[in-house]
Symmetry: C3
Subunit: 138 residues, 3 copies
């Protein structure tokens, strides 16, 4: 049976979305099954048209803002977040949107991108995480 | 033997305290044993009278402040942090306060809520985490 | 075979660097093998001369700033970050610097402290994390 990784995506900053998706895709490329559980601010990543507009969690770190980091990433051939999410789906990653937070924020299914596989609660997360080899929250 | 979950609670924002307790209670409800290790800013959650006064980590996200999120949570029947902590205790969750940080911040046992089971160091955490199925830090 | 712990160090604040190193050293002291993977802002910790100059993630929390926390830590006999890193190395902890982020930030091997064991990608992290008992990201 394949090993599993789960990642809770709690944040909606660009610098957190990158490691979340790069870790997910790295695990999937290594043959692992991956579950991404998006909750709280992280749900913003699943709203239509939002993934390309994320900002850094710290603005002037190292003298670089969001757009400079984006340019440097492109130059280093780092894929865009949209491409990374498409790759994740192609690699079979399961995308869960936290049902409870959707209700709190008043976000409906229609607001979400089609890549979302299911809306689920903490029970759905625990089910996958309890037998997983790697569990992270970012 | 029951599977175990550990959560290091490093932060003291409302939006981090909720997932910490909801994840803990979800795991306990699924039959897991849970250890919560409160350290650094997270110790504020264990100080008397603080749990109900936490703020969001980001103020104007999605146009919602702390009080609006609280209202929406109540409307969605999300339990208060105090209720979630009471539930955690009833479900048998072990609450550890980080001994080293207590010393650094000058917090004494008398400042802490009675729900704290023990004051312990990194060794107490590793003891539970090394055989746990889920380990998170928030 | 010894149990393993991995920690992804994503952040570069003093209050995150302490738990990262204290957890790593606690695990190593308990006989575990430890891998620390430094990425994004966390790479700043590996730049020459930076470890002693980190700031808190929140400035006026509890009325204490960076220098007051440092004083109180010293008084409580908490080792400095430099000492904790030296201890980590002595305990056999593996220090990996994220290759992709180095490229994005234009950081070269010469900018890094000699404690770095290797530059590696997500694959190197997954390799260690997939069989580890404790995996954290801070």
């Amino acid at each position: 049976m394949a090993k599993r990784m789960t990642i809770i995506v709690f944040s909606d900053e660009m610098d957190k979305a990158y490691p979340a998706l790069i870790l997910a895709n790295g695990a999937a490329a290594a043959g692992m099954e991956v579950t991404m559980f998006f909750t709280f601010w992280g749900l913003n990543l699943l709203k239509k048209g939002k993934l390309g507009k994320l900002k850094l969690s710290k603005m002037n770190m190292l003298g670089m803002g969001t757009s400079m980091i984006k340019k440097r990433m492109k130059k280093q051939n780092v894929a865009s977040l949209e491409k990374l999410l498409a790759d994740a789906k192609e690699l079979g990653t399961k995308i869960i949107a936290c049902e409870m937070t959707l209700g709190v924020f008043g976000i409906t299914k229609e607001d979400l991108i089609p890549e979302v596989d299911e809306m689920g609660g903490v029970g759905a997360y625990i089910m996958d995480a309890k037998d997983a080899s790697i569990n992270l929250i970012i």
